[in-house]
Amino acid sequence: MEGQNIIEAEGLTKKYGTQTAVNNLALQIQEGEVFGFLGPNGAGKTTTLLMFLGLTEPTSGKVRIIGFDPAREPLRVKEKVGYLPENVGFYDDMDARQNLQFIARLNRIPDKVSAKKIDGLLEEVGLFEEAKKKVGTYSKGMRQRLGIAEVLIKEPKLIFLDEPTIGLDPDGTNRMLDLIHSLSREKNITIFLSSHLLDQVQRICDRVGIMIKGNLVAIGPIQELARKKLGVDKEHYTLEELYMKYFKEA
């Protein structure tokens, strides 16, 4: 079903007391897209993700994820949506395989089925050799990759990644980005990437949305936004220039 909207938000608002974290957000993401969600710290990116996952209730507005309302039918959404939080945590006294198995059980995948899957996933994220080590001894990059494996075990249609490359070394960042890229290309998983590392977003995202102080100030393919905002005929614009322009105007 190419071209179907996997995320649909309309008039989505979240208020904490008098403070508005997300203001009247409207957003459509199509299946198979890699969407970059940009914005400075505290712009409401994580809050938006939480509302998409049904972990927090919107003050007003409508959300549909894969056709379900995450506040009303959270299980339907969570079955098909993976979420990798910023600085994901694990049960440090268990090894990688046990961590994955626990998540598999929560997704009601029988142990026999999950055992094979876990081997495949560990191979895919490059942790097969270290699978027997306790996760507490893992490096930041390994933890982040294990996080991806954990998200993939439920065979999601849509993955939310919250700052997936933050704190990784350049090599780790590259491996992470390649992994994300291949997920989208090979498995047709929709990726919703929240980040403020602009060069990385530029490398892998089809479209971007820029959120500043709770408002979505721009949305569209990077080139299109550049054309509109920077009047680009020049080849070498960066997302950073574009972003700073929006940021100064806001």
Partner: protein, 292 residues
């Protein structure tokens, strides 16, 4: 460990005590209520049982929060309440296993030491005692889980739970005494104390001390395990004839009667346990789960 120590201590005590007795009734239950050299099993659980509950629960939610696994858990296809239900049920199961284990150890050693095999009524009383104890410790588990939901730091929740435990274990008892002295003072000098004042003093003291779940538990379990206790009241006025008949014909109460006496205590313990869990359920469901 604890079971073994108590069993041997009490067992030896009972052996000596029962030597002169012709036909001991419900001797087996003494294993649990008799104080031996230091304390009885019932007192031990009443005092340190809460610690087991607190220990099992104080870091249940906030450790997941600190290690950042809570948001991951919450994004799996499970209902959010199953997280807290599971935490509570896991604790209750552990408590049940521990208590049943200790009681079985004491019983086994006790049978060897005193050579008395429990009858059906004694076993029933023990089962009821176990149920009350599990509920009582679950109440403390609920308290500590509540603090682990409310506070972000595991140290804070542990200390808060311990503070509550100390408050109810020591200070409510003390406070009850002060309160009673203030409301209905008994004069120290006079030899003839007005019985009405005495009764009132006693009533106030009891009413206040009932705010402590520990008192509720103590009264309930000692009555259940000691069939010769006919009332939970500490102060009973008796004429000389009544006293005589009581000492001559002291028969144990049937189980049902003991149960009726402690019914209000049981209901209170059940109520506070559920109330406590209910509150922490509500708080947890309304909390926002964030990684930051």
């Amino acid at each position: 460990m604890v079971g073994v120590i108590i069993a041997s201590m009490v067992g030896m005590g009972i052996q000596e005590e029962s030597k002169g007795m012709a036909k001991p009734t419900l001797l087996f239950l003494w294993l649990f209520t008799s104080t031996g050299k230091l304390f009885s099993f019932v007192q031990f659980i009443a005092f340190f049982g809460p610690l087991i509950g607190i220990f099992l629960g104080f870091d249940s939610i906030n450790r997941e929060r600190v290690s950042r696994t809570l948001s991951k858990l919450a994004s799996q296809p499970i209902y959010r309440d199953s997280i807290i239900n599971a935490k509570f049920l896991a604790g209750v199961t552990t408590i049940a296993i521990v208590l049943v284990g200790i009681v079985l150890i004491i019983s086994g050693l006790g049978i060897r030491l005193i050579g008395v095999v429990p009858g059906s009524e004694e076993i029933l009383r023990l089962v009821i005692y176990l149920i009350i104890s599990i509920l009582y410790i679950s109440f403390w588990l609920g308290i500590s889980i509540f603090f682990s939901v409310a506070f972000r730091s595991t140290a804070t929740s542990a200390l808060a739970s311990l503070a509550i435990w100390i408050f109810f274990s020591f200070f409510v008892g003390l406070g009850a005494g002060f309160m009673a002295d203030a409301v209905a003072p008994i004069s120290q000098s006079g030899t003839n104390v007005d019985p009405n004042v005495l009764v009132r003093h006693e009533e106030v003291q009891r009413t206040v001390s009932y705010f402590s779940p520990m008192t509720l538990y103590n009264e309930a379990t000692t009555t259940i395990l000691d069939p010769t206790r006919k009332t939970t009241k500490g102060l009973v006025f008796m004429g000389p004839l009544e006293r005589l008949s009581l000492s001559r014909f002291q028969n144990p109460l049937p189980l049902l009667q003991s149960l009726i006496i402690v019914a209000p205590y049981l209901i209170s313990i059940v109520a506070i346990t559920f109330l406590c869990f209910g509150v922490c359920y509500l708080v947890f469901m309304r909390q926002e789960i964030r990684t930051v």
